[in-house]
Amino acid sequence: MTIRVTLQGVFIAAASLAALGGVAIAQQNKDTVAVPGGLALSEFKGYEKWQVIAASQSGNIIDVIVGNPEMIAAYESGLPAEGKKIPDGARMVKIHWNGKKHADFPAATIPDTLHDLDTMVKDSKRFAATGGWGYGQFNYDAGSDSFKPLGTGPGCGFACHTKAASVDYVFTRYPKR
């Protein structure tokens, strides 16, 4: 038996390799992207598997807030609460998607493309200037399948979260499930 290599076959193979290359380039970015002078997305490695804290919706954005085991343990111990601190090491990620109507169930709005990731990590020494929390925002670019950091430094969410200063700057509650 002879193996015939056709031009078409070569073209398909080349296109497949290019597609694989594109995926590899995009996945690199997740491990290396960082806010200049601020948080690296790699500090939240594994967030895809973290437990759900809550969901929310604002305008055309629908989002889920997930936490690492330290943050979930804090919620389960009754935090956030007036005057109490969330322990160092607690991390949260808010995944924002653009919303769209479900094609098979139009009464529901569901996630469409990824919009951005908002991250928060508690380290009372490292982030003493911003209430013990470091903040980061990573905007997702669907065209290049990569993330871009927003701004500089770890203080991007501080002004907004100051409204919740009495409960250690955390807005989201852990609803019963």
């Binding site: 604002s58 629908i62 479900h102 098979d104 996630p111 990824l114 609803p175």
Partner: protein, 179 residues
């Protein structure tokens, strides 16, 4: 000097503590003993609180989080159901529904979970549920006043008619979105 003796404060706080404990123990229903008559058991989904999120949804009434067990998440990540393959037996998915409210704390307009309303479970077992294309369905309704769940209806086919609309996606409405 206080008119109330330390002893009476201790007694009062002990009574208060017992009342609180009593309230908790009365309210703490063991949800894992619940079962839909002739249908799914809540305990088939033990640990769903820690499962990974698949997707979200919002309607005029509710905000929902859809989570799945590791078997089902692995199937999603392998391209199911978009690749035309069915979810494997042992796949389990839960949909948690909350009523929603405007956050009173956030500095922008945002809807957040208010009261817990109900939970839907679906599990794949092609031998156990051959009449409903391999999936068994259940719904448990949450009552905030008694902090307890109760099964809705009976049997394991409560979601089948509705989910037939997405038969081409192995009866599952929600894709796994990039994150």
């Amino acid at each position: 000097m206080s008119l109330i003796s330390p002893k009476s404060i201790f007694a009062a706080s002990l009574v208060a503590s017992l009342a609180v404990l009593g309230g908790v123990s009365l309210a703490a229903q063991d949800k894992y003993t619940l079962k839909v008559p002739d249908g799914l058991s809540f305990s088939d989904f033990k640990g769903y609180e820690g499962w990974q999120v698949v997707s979200l949804a919002q309607t005029d009434q509710v905000l929902k989080a859809i989570v799945a067990n590791p078997t089902m998440i692995a199937a999603y990540r392998a391209g199911i159901p978009g690749n035309g393959k069915p979810f494997p037996d042992g796949s389990r998915i839960a949909k948690i529904q909350w009523t929603q409210k405007k956050s009173t704390e956030a500095p922008f307009v945002v809807n957040v979970p208010d009261k817990y309303q109900d939970i839907f479970f679906i599990e794949k077992d092609s031998k156990r549920f051959p009449k409903t294309s391999g999936w068994g369905y259940a719904r448990f309704v949450y009552a905030p006043a008694s902090d307890s769940f109760s099964p809705d209806g009976k049997g394991s086919d409560c979601g089948y008619a509705c989910h037939t609309k997405v038969a081409a996606k192995d009866y599952i409405f929600h894709p796994y979105q990039k994150r």
